[in-house]
């Protein structure tokens, strides 16, 4: 049994077989073969070794001819390592005695060798581990043939363990069978985190390197609440988690009847509970939980993993699916919130040393008007289908907002000229996620129809903390009094103008903050769909004066820790168990 601590990014518990992916999206396969297949499997190994040897010998010739003997020499070394007699007998033994699959045996044995070198820090010899991995990869490629594709072709439930998942890998994954994710790198805002949340499966990221120590098919537990990954759990741990998973299921069933009930406080104040989504199919999760609408439809997935920029029709198709599914409930579509590095066919900015503070989001949109206009046209064309709202991300100056609105007006004019139907009165709002937007909120409210607090970025910018940097991530805290004051300022500016204001960051989906946020005056919370039942249940247990008392107390506190501890105690009075 081995425990790894990472960052919890999507809640829940999953128990299952590991599917290990290496850096190249290469899949390390299952563990056992049938007893009577051993002879065939040994033959398969034999063929793979021979094919790999031929390939390496060929490389040796080419490289020697092109770069000289000295460079070809490394392939000679690979060739001899591959043909090492002891290595071979170790692999064969595992297949014969333990009925391991050749793939599993190869990766098991070679990784053991690699570990010998990996233990040597900073030594030149430590680099030999990469030679071993290279040989492993080559052998596996020959063993697996076409079956080596990553997570696109699955036949049974798996937990995906990877160094990092690229947008194109996750875009193609088989949703029916993936039960959880673990990645060695990444933080709370990483692509894996977003996809896991969308799929409503547990995920842990940023565990640090561990993949060389696992092989496909090993029993694994992902604890998405605590950020724990347990490899080859012992019986006791396994039983404990099985019970926990069962309890979670029971709890979810208990909350199910809430679907038909409104999010209304005990004293009769209606709270709007909306869903945050990224992929169109998630709209079904919102409908299933009785969401009051989609409070944040992130549109980044349309660009991520695509080879070319999405066309207006591609946009429209996605928006149509979501807007129609929500019927007469609102759908807030946020225009793309990406950096240039994530856009297909867009030149990477030179000198982008600090992407969070760089050319991204609305800034990028205003510099690349054709792309921005394509998206706005599609959104406008979706307006007659339901209750669409447009939202601009990362606005930090009034000028940006005005420019964005001008582009929108321009798009509308163009559509009208071509007699394309659209709703001219579509509400236009902005994210409040920079301290600058908060400080200028009294001016912004004069020029928008609604505000939405994006706490993930607001916290990062206000506290100057990179969430994916594990050395400072402990400073990233929604309960920090500085953050709470910014939130209070934005709410005050909106309520003076009686402008709708919602919150759509991760903070709004945590029941820990529900009382505080209601007490501060928020009446719209947009949360990850799976959090709706829990937040709703809490809303229905409290009164606004109770929440106001909590908020008043909290606003007088000096430390995030005090705020959190106090909130935990308060919330406990209303619900027995909360997940933070």
């Amino acid at each position: 049994m081995r425990k790894l601590q990472g960052i919890a990014v999507s809640p829940g518990v999953a128990i299952g077989e590991a599917l290990v992916m290496d850096n190249e999206g290469f899949r390390i396969p299952r563990r056992f073969v049938a007893r009577d297949a051993v002879v065939d499997e040994l033959e398969r190994l034999e063929k793979a070794v021979a094919a790999a040897a031929t390939e390496i010998a060929h490389h040796r010739e080419t490289v020697s001819a092109e770069l000289g003997e000295k460079y070809g020499g490394i392939f000679e070394a690979h060739l001899q390592m591959l043909q090492d007699a002891k290595l071979r007998s170790e692999v064969e033994e595992m297949i014969r005695q333990r009925h391991y699959s050749p793939e599993y045996a190869v990766s098991r044995v070679l990784r053991r060798y690699a570990q010998v070198f990996q233990r040597l820090e900073s030594s030149y010899l430590a680099e030999r581990a990469s030679d071993i991995f290279d040989i492993e990869k080559r052998l596996l490629r020959h063993l697996l043939g076409r079956r080596r594709e990553g997570i696109a072709h699955l036949t049974s439930p798996v937990l995906v363990l990877a160094h990092n998942l690229t947008p194109s890998e996750t875009a193609n994954l088989d949703r029916r069978f993936v039960r959880g994710f673990v990645t060695e790198v990444g933080g709370p805002g990483s692509h894996t985190a977003i996809v896991a949340e969308a799929l409503e499966i547990p995920a842990v990221v940023g565990t640090g390197a561990f993949l060389t120590e696992v092989s496909g098919g090993e029993l694994t537990i992902i604890d998405g609440d605590k950020g724990l990954v347990i490899l080859q759990p012992d019986e006791e741990t396994l039983n404990r988690y099985r019970r926990e998973a069962e309890e979670l299921r029971i709890q979810a069933t208990k909350l199910e009847p809430l679907r038909e009930l409104p999010a209304e406080t005990r004293d009769g104040v209606r709270v709007q509970l909306l869903g945050n989504i990224e992929f169109p199919y998630e709209v079904d999760h919102c409908v299933d939980r009785g969401a009051d609408g989609v409070g944040l439809y992130r549109t980044e997935f349309l660009y991520l993993g695509a080879d070319s920029e999405p066309t207006e029709e591609v946009h429209l198709q996605a928006y149509t699916r979501v807007v129609q599914a929500m019927g007469d409930k609102p759908v807030v579509i946020r225009t793309f919130d990406l950096g240039a590095d994530k856009m297909p066919n867009m030149a990477r900015m030179e000198d982008e040393r600090n992407p969070c503070l760089g050319l991204r989001s609305i800034r990028l949109a205003l510099r690349n008007l054709p792309i921005f206009r394509t998206q706005l046209r599609a959104i406008m064309r979706a307006t007659p289908l339901g209750k669409v709202r447009i939202m601009f991300p990362l606005v930090s100056t009034l000028l940006e907002l005005r420019q964005a609105k001008m582009v929108l007006a321009d798009v509308m004019e163009d559509l009208q000229e071509h007699n394309v139907p659209f709703d001219r009165d579509v509400p236009v709002g902005m994210m409040v996620e920079t301290p600058a937007a908060v400080m200028m909120a009294d001016r912004f409210v004069e020029e928008v129809d609604f505000l939405s607090l994006g706490t993930n970025d607001l916290i990062q910018y206000a506290l100057a903390v990179d969430r994916s940097n594990k050395d400072v991530v402990n400073l990233y805290n929604p309960a920090d009094p500085a953050v709470l004051r910014l939130i209070a300022m934005a709410i005050q500016a909106a309520s003076r103008k009686q402008l709708p204001i919602s919150m759509c960051g991760q903070m709004s989906g945590s029941p820990l903050y529900t009382m505080l946020l209601l007490g501060m005056g928020l009446r719209q919370l947009s949360v990850t769909p799976s959090a709706i039942p829990e937040v709703k249940s809490l809303c229905r247990s409290v009164t606004i004066p109770e929440c106001q008392a909590v908020a008043q107390r909290v606003m007088g506190m000096e430390h995030a820790r005090d705020v959190k501890n106090y909130l935990k105690e308060e919330v406990k009075k209303y619900v027995r168990e909360i997940t933070e």
């Binding site: 020499g73 001899q80 390592m81 002891k86 060798y113 040597l120």
Partner: protein
């Protein structure tokens, strides 16, 4: 011509340690001769012809190894092996490029 094993002690002076190219060169020399050669570091013994096993000795610069040779040309083989631990591969004096 004795059939008893001869053991020689060498210090790894190649600044890169016993790396892949050294291991390949050792294996080549030993295969050309008739003697059976074993490399020993502490309690670990590996056949000199098995490149992967030689590498797993993890012989780093400054460390001491024993080379044990048994066969008619044992001394001659050992003579040829010795310079390899200093990173000398005959035609080039430089260790294998990183």
């Amino acid at each position: 011509m004795s059939e008893t094993a001869i053991t020689r002690t060498v210090v790894v002076t190649d600044p890169a340690g016993v790396h892949a190219r050294t291991a390949v060169a050792i294996a080549e020399v030993v295969r050309r001769g008739q003697a059976t050669v074993t490399l020993i570091k502490d309690y670990q013994r590996v056949p000199a012809t098995e490149v992967l096993q030689v590498l797993t000795l993890v012989a780093e610069p400054g460390e001491t190894l024993q080379i044990e040779a048994q066969g008619p040309d044992a001394n001659a083989v050992l003579d040829q092996l010795e310079p390899l631990f200093a990173g000398q591969f005959g035609e080039e004096a430089q260790p294998f490029a990183k």
